[in-house]
């Protein structure tokens, strides 16, 4: 998932943030021991102007807004203290054959759409095909290149069908991939695999009145003002463990000013008791909370989160010892403070590429040092690499969003102590993406970024950032790391169908790549969210660092 989380939840949120004071273990659930009950209206205060309910255009997590209305082929286990894993949603977790090139899923019985028609495998197929139409691009498209014939397919609306998706009967769906891929069940949990009734969904504003498969349907969509969800009578609670479906109604209030949202939630009066904010609390808001015991108890913080990292352009800084010097030169403490005011608020210092909460992750530190870095060791490594006088005039490019210029300055100051002089260049988002993601060659030496995988697999941590196929052309390999051995190992790990074996391979890759030091992991970014006093069962699991909307309810 992207460095810009605003794609995930429509938010132009402030910087990352942090936890309650004192405790090392951030509070991941609301202190209220009140139980969430059926009924009531849950309100969500949204900074953005839109909430997208068209699955083809969505990059949304399964546990947030889209999950209220649309079920998917598979889902995520999202509970406190548990690692995320694939669980059945509309279908089972799938069976592979042909060494991982073919995947077969069986749908559960008796599922219906909100209009009463049964959900058949053809409807899932139609939903996936729909994402290929240019009119409905914009969502997660990991499946597009993997399905046979996907490269040339342009959607089902001109009468053409994607043959690599077979539906031998109403309950079975078979996917033919062009290579073995062990994580296909995770891919089947992306929004593209939400069912759309066959033949429907050609209108551009389908997202304002979609046919629902989840606990709720879109009753009212007032652009820029609010979206109101009411119960979908045809949703079968018995077959759905992922969604609680507790409130009678869910209302999104759109276009809310961020600081006003925070004030309202702190004040906790009237309807705001039943509300929570969809954007993270900013450091300023957290500082305000410190003095307010009630508000502090209603703050929920993730244990971990996206990996913030300093990427080194391996095509320009080619000496591995020089790159390793950066691991010691960087001051992660000052980065934490620049992010959110303190180490606790910002998140733990990171030493691995795979983020916490992913099954099979191994904790290790190849470059152990003090939290504030070790400039002397860095200078020594530079000398060993042939740079006794350090490095000069390095081009450090950053996007202007997410407070990157401020964080870059913290890094700049730390690097200077190790005789590495950098010049910061700030770009607008589009220009930044053009230079880092799109361009085949790049002029920058360093850049700052952040990455949260789109699904909880080490695959999604490593492949997009370190496979040589992801350099330029829209890819996220901004350190431009190209190592044929690593590419082969990535391919092998992706093709591995046994999750345990795959996890081992990814952990080894983690170490192997870090030994080459193409990036310096900085922190696992913590997010905090505030909720009203009547909102219950509002928690953040180990992964992802967002609250579970689907299980929250109103306490009486």
């Amino acid at each position: 998932m992207a460095k810009q989380v605003r794609k995930l939840i429509p938010v132009a949120a402030a910087v990352v943030l942090l936890a309650a004071c004192g405790a090392n273990d951030p509070k991941t659930t609301g202190a209220q021991t009140a139980k969430a009950e059926r009924g009531g209206t849950l309100r969500i205060l949204n900074e953005g102007q839109t909430v997208n309910y068209d699955p083809a255009k969505s990059g949304s997590l399964p546990i947030t807004s889209l999950g209220y209305v649309h079920r998917r082929l598979t889902g995520w286990l999202n509970a406190e203290g548990k690692e995320a894993s694939v669980v059945p949603d509309l279908g089972d977790v799938g069976k592979s054959s042909e060494g991982g090139k073919t995947w077969t899923f069986t749908l559960k019985d008796g599922q219906k759409f909100s209009d009463g028609t049964p959900i058949r495998s053809k409807d899932i197929k139609w939903g996936v095909e729909r994402t290929y139409a240019p009119a409905f691009s914009g969502g997660l498209g990991y499946h597009k290149q993997l399905l046979v014939g996907g490269a040339d397919y342009r959607g089902p609306f001109e009468g053409k069908s994607l043959d690599s998706i077979e539906t031998p009967d109403d309950k079975t769906i078979v996917f033919h991939l062009n290579r073995p891929y062990g994580d296909w069940p995770w891919i089947a949990s992306t929004p593209a695999f939400a069912p759309v009734p066959e033949g429907k969904g050609s209108e551009p504003d389908y997202g304002e009145h979609p046919v629902a498969s989840g606990p709720y349907q879109v009753a009212e969509y007032q652009r820029g003002v609010k979206v109101r969800l009411t119960r979908n009578a045809n949703w079968d609670k018995g077959s759905d463990d992922i969604r609680g479906g507790l409130p009678d109604e869910v209302v999104f209030q759109l276009g809310q000013d961020a600081s006003v949202v925070s004030q309202r939630l702190i004040a906790d009066s009237g309807d705001d008791k039943e509300a929570f904010g969809s954007s993270f609390a900013s450091p300023a808001q957290l500082a305000t909370l410190q003095g307010n015991a009630s508000a502090k108890s209603r703050l929920v913080t993730s244990k971990s989160g996206a990996l913030a990292y300093l990427a080194i352009n391996t095509q320009k800084i080619t000496n591995p010892k020089a790159r390793q010097a950066f691991q010691y030169a960087v001051d992660k403490t000052s980065y934490q403070i620049a992010s959110a005011g303190s180490a606790q608020l910002a998140g733990d210092a990171a030493t691995t590429l795979i983020t916490q909460g992913i099954a099979g992750r191994e904790q290790f530190d190849l470059y152990p040092t003090q939290p504030s870095g070790d400039p002397e060791k860095a200078k020594q490594l530079l000398a060993e690499g042939g740079f006794p006088n350090g490095l000069e005039n390095l081009d450090f490019v950053v996007a202007k969003s997410n407070d990157y210029p401020t964080k870059a300055q913290a890094i700049q100051a730390a690097l200077a102590k190790a005789n590495i002089k950098v010049n910061i260049r700030v770009l607008d988002t589009d220009a930044y993406e053009a230079e880092t993601n799109q361009a085949k060659d790049a002029a920058y030496d360093l850049t700052l970024s952040s990455w949260q995988p789109d699904f909880p697999s080490a695959n999604a941590n490593i492949q997009p950032l370190f496979a040589s196929s992801e350099i330029g052309g829209g890819g996220y390999n901004i350190s431009r790391y190209s190592n044929p051995d690593v590419d082969k190992l990535i391919e092998a790990a992706q093709s591995e169908v046994d999750p345990a074996a795959a996890a081992k391979k990814w952990a080894e890759l983690d170490k192997k790549i870090l030994a080459d030091s193409p990036v310096v992991p900085l922190i696992y970014t913590r997010n905090s969210f505030l909720h009203g006093s009547k909102v219950a069962n509002f928690f953040i699991a180990d992964f992802p660092s967002y609250p579970n909307y689907l299980q929250a309810g109103i306490a009486k």
Partner: protein, 331 residues
């Protein structure tokens, strides 16, 4: 007949002005390297996906072609894409927002009542207080009242509107909990709630503008009261209220009407800052959203609409001039 020719002439001039505004805006926005297709590309955004998105949105045509398509769309409507998933933008089509899935015209018309409620309400408030206090100050020149209001109006002019707004929210909205903070209730739903939710935004907006009008009115009034014809009127024994109300005020209203017209036109184009601060779903908020999301068609539409309102206001002001000032009729 002369009136008709005048109006027709002004109309033609107006259209030309709007055309130039559109052209300049278009040139600036499309010359800049910013790719709206990126937002519709998806993740992973491969070159192929990007190309498909651009083609669908009509962005792979040369710039001049796009401009002509845009102008043509105003008259005939436009279609994006082809086949079952094509998007029709009904005439007059001022663009289609791919981010919000709606015609720009529809989006603007949805937001209009909010901005108009905000703008007109505040305008009434600041005219009454600003002009009234200004006249009063001029008549009571040099007194304590005059000095206080003058000092206050200078303060009002100097304080940025966003600061006043945010402080207003903090003090009146949260600390004292006197008024609800932000949000808009349509008039049709509940006139009382509608007004109640707008009280704070009205006050904030009116405060800044009233100061300007107070100063303007006062200085104009002072100037006019020194004119010969006022002295003559007084010497002729007319009552002070007639002198002020009928003779002086007429002259004073001229520049005020001019400024008011332009102010109102600009305000109705979207009181950007006030709407953002109070989370009001008006045209200002639409614009900020378009900017943040690089939604160029929407941006273009909002700019054009705002320009249209200002130009319209100018025309109306000129017509008012004709009514108020016989010397200025139809020259």
């Amino acid at each position: 007949m002369r009136t008709l020719r005048f109006v027709a002439g002004r109309l033609a001039g107006t259209l030309l002005v709007l055309l130039v505004v559109v052209f300049i805006t278009y040139v600036v926005f499309y010359l800049v390297p910013s790719d709206p297709a990126q937002l519709s590309c998806g993740r992973p955004c491969t070159e192929q996906n990007l190309a498909l998105a651009r083609e669908f949105m009509g962005l792979d045509d040369p710039a001049w072609r796009q401009f002509l398509d845009f102008l043509g769309g105003i008259v005939t409507g436009r279609t994006f894409g082809a086949g079952a998933t094509s998007i029709h933008c009904a005439a007059p089509c001022f663009g289609y927002s791919f981010q919000q899935n709606a015609d720009v015209v529809v989006l603007i018309s949805e937001r209009l009542p909010v901005t108009f409620s905000l703008g007109l309400g505040a305008a009434v408030l600041w005219l009454v207080t600003g002009v009234g206090a200004g006249v009063f100050s001029a008549l009571r020149r040099g007194t304590a009242w005059d000095r206080i209001t003058l000092a206050g109006s200078v303060a009002g002019v100097s304080a940025p509107v966003y600061l006043v707004g945010l402080l207003g929210i903090l003090v009146l909205g949260f600390t004292l909990d006197v008024v609800p903070v932000g949000g808009y209730v349509p008039f049709a739903e509940s006139p009382v709630d509608w007004a109640w939710h707008l009280v704070l935004p009205w006050l904030v907006l009116a405060f800044s503008h009233a100061a300007v009008y107070l100063r303007l009115t006062r200085s104009q009034m002072l100037e006019t009261l020194g004119e010969d014809y006022i002295r003559t009127a007084r010497a002729n024994g007319l009552r002070e209220s007639t002198v002020v109300g009928k003779h002086a005020l007429r002259n004073v209203l001229l520049p005020i009407v001019t400024v008011f017209g332009i102010d109102l036109g600009a305000l109705l184009g979207g009181a950007v800052i006030t709407e953002r601060v109070f989370s009001l779903p008006g045209l200002g908020g639409l614009l900020i959203d378009a900017v943040n999301q690089r939604d160029l068609p929407l941006l273009l539409g909002c700019t054009l609409f705002a320009a249209f309102l200002i130009v319209l206001a100018n025309v109306l002001v000129d017509l008012c001039y004709g009514v108020l000032d016989p010397r200025a009729r139809l020259t």
